[in-house]
């Protein structure tokens, strides 16, 4: 069976260890050298970066996340053994693992490391679709001639390079489409290299639960369970029209995924649909001044991202989560698309005033959707708000100052609330 040593990158034909270096890090599959769609996922990315930069943390359980009220964004593998998971509330994580070192995320550092990884991926293929800072799809179809080696070898080389040059490990899933590649990368973490071949696809999926599918969360799971769909084999019993009728476009997708089919291309040109940001407070609050401060910060973050991408949006959404976790959302369409923090804030603030005081809130978010290019935005002023033009100029000037002197060079007083 075609095999590959992940340490010395030498292909060979069967055996549990590498015949040349004796390493046990071997991957084997009949289709190993024929598959070309991959998903690369860094192992406990934020935590690994922190451990790399601070060797004292190496053997300690490390949790990345903000404060007592926040949630875990990443836990290192030591902490994971104790039951800590991402997205878990911090107090729960600290119950499970009281000796954990909690580190505040340093997003700019992670972004920089992510760029270095991205540069390494660029050497492999132009068809890269980043999903976040630490994971991406890669399509290496047709690159064998160019590299003089099959995709599997190049991918093993990529993670090896990441380890050697950046001190970080990652896991690879290799298959014949995105869905299966993503599933595969998760099978053998950390430092994994898993393959789901065409031949094994049906057998592999057979008794797997449908929650394996990215995008099937608890709500979708419940509605699927209502009609008796729990596993992939349950799905196979449904015909395409029945699934589509019951679940709409998701049904159509499910029918294909049940058969291990996924035609989506690996592409980084997927148009962005919305930009949003939200924050969970350290303490539940109904203090309008504090909420207003958060609202401004969220609006500014969303506007910053929109400006960075050259986008603007016509629909403004406000999201609030009450102390009992009930979520309230309000949205409104603007006549003129915007990318300005000021407009976004004022619109979201009007929505907030409509919602009124509904007790304590634990989370606030704001978003921009129905996106369009920035040159179609903020074209007309408001008769009733003659100062809007001035504020807009001030915002552009602020942006220019920050670009030159850093993001803290100039801030609004309300940011400090």
């Amino acid at each position: 069976m075609p095999s590959l040593c992940r340490d010395c990158l030498i292909p060979f034909n069967a055996g549990r260890r590498c015949p040349s270096c004796g390493s046990p890090l071997v991957v084997s599959d009949p289709e190993l050298f024929d598959l070309s769609i991959a998903h690369m996922d860094c192992d406990a990315f934020y935590a690994s970066v922190e451990k790399r930069d601070n060797p004292e943390l190496a053997d300690k359980p490390v949790i990345i996340g903000g404060g007592k009220r926040g949630v875990v964004s990443t836990a290192c593998y030591v902490a994971r053994i104790r039951g800590v998971k991402s997205a878990m509330p911090m107090f729960k994580a600290l119950d499970l693992c009281p000796d954990a070192v909690v580190v505040k995320p340093r997003m700019s550092v992670y972004a920089e490391v992510s760029r270095e990884i991205r540069a390494m991926m660029d050497d492999l293929t132009p068809a890269i679709e980043p999903l976040s800072l630490d994971e991406a799809f890669l399509d290496l179809s047709g690159t064998q001639k160019l590299h003089g080696a099959p995709p599997a070898v190049m991918l093993a080389g990529l993670v090896k390079r990441m380890k050697d040059e950046l001190g970080l490990t990652g896991s690879i899933g290799l298959s014949h489409n995105k869905f299966l590649a993503k599933v595969a990368s998760d099978l053998d973490k950390p430092r994994g290299f898993s393959v789901i071949s065409r031949q094994e696809t049906a057998g592999f999926l057979e008794n797997k639960p449908v929650r394996l599918i990215w995008g099937i969360g608890p709500a979708a799971q419940t509605s699927l369970e209502k009609v008796g769909i729990r596993t992939f084999s349950d799905l196979l019993r449904w015909d395409q029209t029945a699934l589509s009728e019951r679940f709409g476009s998701m049904g159509y997708r499910l029918w294909h995924l049940a058969r291990g089919q996924d035609k989506r291309r690996v592409s980084n040109n997927e148009p962005m649909k919305s930009i949003s940001n939200e924050t969970t407070f350290f303490e539940d609050t109904n203090n309008p001044d504090i909420l207003d401060g958060h609202l401004w910060r969220m609006a500014e973050k969303v506007a910053d991202r929109a400006k960075a991408k050259g986008l603007a949006g016509r629909v403004v959404t406000l999201k609030l989560k009450r102390a009992n976790h009930a979520v309230l959302t309000r949205r409104v369409s603007l006549r003129d698309a915007t990318q300005m923090a000021d407009t976004l804030y004022r619109t979201a603030r009007a929505l907030f005033d409509q919602v009124g005081d509904q007790g304590l809130y634990r989370l606030l978010g704001c978003g921009l959707s129905d996106l369009c290019p920035e040159d179609e935005a903020d074209k007309s002023g408001d008769l009733l708000d003659p100062n809007a033009a001035k504020r807009s100029e001030a915002e552009r000037a602020t942006d220019a100052i920050r670009k030159r002197f850093g993001s803290d060079a100039i801030i609004k007083g309300r940011t400090l609330r």
């Binding site: 409104v332 006549r335 003129d336 619109t347 009007a350 929505l351 409509q354 369009c372 179609e376 903020d378 074209k379 007309s380 002023g381 408001d382 008769l383 009733l384 708000d385 003659p386 033009a389």
Partner: protein, 372 residues
């Protein structure tokens, strides 16, 4: 209750009622019209809790009484009956049905008890006066296009009707704006209206009111309080809550210092705008106006679809100016002009522009330019 009524009379009364009824509504009784028969007339009453309309029609009342029935169903039935038919409505207390008979047609409709029907509380009106229908029609027709639909600025979701000082003394004024355009329409102050409190008449009320104003010569009885407004003809009474909010100070929005004057035939202008806007992108609809001496070039440049240009001979004597507008807004204000030329007063490409008909100060429009 048992009445006989001519189909045409019934249709008119019922259609007024059913248009007030909200289509989507969760309270069953609000979908109904209250029919009350007494003496030699019948009254149809409908409400959405914000607006109430009462329509009185002559009828042959055989047995006085009252009931409520689904407004849209009754309207549909009456609409489909042949012209000139005599319609008999009979409420049967025992079965709780209303029978509608005309010629060989016979319908039996479910009813709800009249006691459940919410009747709008009557209130004290501070001001009562009469105004000719034609005058009210002008005030609302020329301003309603500028009413805002933004729910976050609910105080703009109507026409601000109030008494104010103008150059020639006190006037009755209607103002509407959505922040992008504004309409300010003045009318001669009707006798007895000077003490009228300013009220914001909601969009839906403006639409319903319009149906009362077709006859130029008809006198409309107007009653105004801080919370309600009432318009009445001898047959129809429309009562509406007003928007509980403060209309913004619009006076500072109306530009005073605009000096660049463009005079143009309104319909020629509107047609040209409409033509060039054909290629503009569905969403922005931006039209550029380039003004030179006695020449106006209208153009649209939409990278995705194409470009268009048209030249108009106009009266313009100031320095060159380039300014952009939403084509829809230009068309709306241009269509308000019906007697004389449209006069535009510009300042700069970033400032609000004023438009009026000739030198008539009684109807003034302001429109915000857009970047092109």
């Amino acid at each position: 209750m048992k009445i006989s009524i001519e189909r045409g009379t019934l249709l008119k009364a019922v259609s007024q009622a059913q248009s007030v009824v909200e289509r989507r509504n969760t309270i069953p009784i609000l979908a109904n019209v209250l029919i009350e028969a007494e003496g030699d007339s019948v009254q149809f009453r409908a409400t959405d809790l914000d607006i109430e309309v009462v329509d009185k029609a002559p009828a042959q009342v055989e047995r006085a009484g009252a009931t409520t029935v689904a407004a849209t169903t009754l309207h549909e039935i009456v609409r489909k009956l042949p012209d000139g038919a005599l319609v008999t409505l009979t409420a049967d207390g025992a079965t709780g049905r209303l029978t509608v008979e005309a010629g060989r047609s016979n319908f039996s409709l479910a009813t709800l008890p009249r006691e459940d029907f919410p009747v709008m509380a009557s209130s004290e009106y501070q001001s009562n006066f009469t105004a000719p229908a034609g005058m009210l029609r002008r005030l609302f027709d020329k301003s309603k296009f500028a009413i805002s639909t933004e729910e976050t600025r609910y105080y703009l979701n109507g026409v601000y009707l109030h008494v104010t000082d103008a150059d020639g003394g006190k006037v009755l004024r209607a103002v509407a704006t959505d922040g992008h355009r504004l309409a300010r329409i003045d009318a001669e102050l009707p006798a007895g209206s000077a003490e009228m409190p300013g009220v914001i008449v909601p969009r839906k009320t403006v639409g319903e009111l319009r149906k009362l104003l077709d006859d130029d010569e008809m006198d409309i009885a107007v009653s105004v309080s801080e919370t309600k407004v009432r318009f009445a003809t001898p047959d129809i009474t429309l009562t509406s809550k007003v928007i509980d909010g403060t209309f913004p100070d619009y006076t500072r929005v109306i530009p005073q210092g605009n000096t660049r004057r463009l005079e143009v035939d309104a319909s020629e202008f509107a047609q040209a705008v409409d033509r060039v806007a054909t290629v503009s992108s569905e969403r922005s609809r931006a039209v550029k106006l380039q003004l030179e001496e006695d020449r106006l070039i209208l153009s649209v440049n939409a990278p995705d679809s194409g470009a268009a240009e048209e030249e108009l001979a106009v009266a313009y004597g100031d320095e060159r100016l380039e300014i952009g507008f939403n084509a829809k807004y230009l068309l709306e204000i241009a269509s308000q002009v019906d007697r004389e030329n449209a006069v535009f007063m510009f300042n700069s490409a970033g400032d609000p522009t004023l438009m009026r008909e000739g030198n008539d100060q009684s109807a003034v429009y302001v429109v915000m330019p857009m970047r092109v």
